[in-house]
Symmetry: C2
Subunit: 217 residues, 2 copies
DNA sequence: CAGTATCCTTCCAGATACTG
DNA sequence: CAGTATCTGGAAGGATACTG
């Protein structure tokens, strides 16, 4: 006998949305899945503190709502979770919230954890596609992970792994430094001078990339 | 002896944002304030189920975070709450979430409540400023409240009350009908035929308005 | 690896009473 | 009117142990 899931009882887009993804941890699970399918234990590892029962509950509910689905890979018996089209539709909302949250962010509190993919989220949140230049790709090396930003016909996408074709710029940094830059609490120039940020590539590309990320006028 | 407010402990824009506005009711309070300053009892009345202590807690916390402030009107001793600039910064995130939630919304469940201002939020969520035409204003009469949409130099704003200058279109409907249209579960043409939606004004203006709201190609 | 099951703590809803 | 204070049952969250 399942009890009613608590909901706001309002016929309103926001309230209805929050009834689905407003509970604790849910949007962070979506954040993880926005950068690609994940296995159960990957989620558990990237969401320190969640507790396995809660993760299972959330995944089950999100599955019932049609926001995520389980993908069974035939090769191995390992299953993983991925966003459905509906779930992918949360990207804009997540980026908007992340952008706002970045603006409210200051220094990391002692004990705070960071992940390279959250820095990648920051990239996606702060970049302005309307300032994109001609087609090219950038490679971001954050801690031990690699991401690429590709500009293609005015469309900008951020993805995991190396750039498909040759990139015009390589940026190397650590997660904290990048999040700080995104939050505006660290000047990219200062980070470069202290060697916490290393940019390698064509000077013109550096200008185009910085402009797109809103780091210079 | 204050307990620690539960937080995610992640140095990430999204997690930091959720630490501030991720708790139950919080974003709905922000939603209310996005359409203008509100008094305590107004909030209480527009958020059925919240409970006075919880509302007080949330308002206090939002105040401490600098997301809202209390405005003391000298004329009367009545105080009201309004968003700070930081709080206003949540508009895009709220609209993005509302847009997504609208897409997931079906029919109102029995017992669901609706408010005209939530329908106004739906207007704001679905309208596409890039499809705005020349300067003009529209007046929306939803239940017993009036809102205006004004197009001014490509900028589109939705506000409470009547349009400042003459409007080229008047739309009359009820909250449920409008939210349904926004959710895509009711065809505006059908609503017009059944008289649940009445549009009055220049035919050209109707086309421009519908286009901006994404109700026609 | 991918979850259940269990136990305990904290938070929330709803009611009510009180204050300036 | 605009809150604060207190109480209570129930639901949600967190930690840990266990299982196919």
């Amino acid at each position: 006998m399942k009890h009613h899931r608590r909901n706001y009882g309002q016929y309103c887009g926001l309230a209805a949305g929050l009834d689905l993804i407003g509970e604790r941890w849910t949007l962070l699970i979506v954040r993880e899945l926005l950068s690609g399918p994940c296995r159960y234990n990957e989620l558990l590892a990237n969401l320190p503190g969640i507790g396995t029962n809660l993760l299972a509950d959330r995944l089950k509910f999100l599955g019932q709502c049609g926001i995520i689905r389980q993908r069974c890979r035939e090769s191995s018996k390992l299953r993983d979770y991925e966003l459905t089209e509906q779930g992918e539709g949360l990207r804009e909302a997540v980026l908007a919230l992340a952008r706002w949250g970045l603006g409210m962010l200051d220094q990391p509190a002692p004990g705070d954890i960071v992940r390279p993919r959250w820095a990648a989220l920051a990239i996606e949140a702060i970049l302005d596609p309307s300032r994109a230049g001609p087609d090219e790709q950038y490679e971001f090396r954050i801690d031990d992970e690699v991401f690429h930003v590709s500009v293609l016909g005015g469309q900008v996408t951020v993805g995991h792994g190396r750039a498909a074709i040759g990139h015009t710029l390589t940026l190397t940094t650590d997660s904290v430094t990048f999040v700080k830059i995104g939050a505006g609490s660290l000047n990219p120039l200062e980070a470069t001078l202290t060697n916490r940020l290393v940019i390698d590539g064509d000077e013109e590309a550096v200008v185009r990339c910085s402009r797109m990320l809103g780091l210079m006028a």
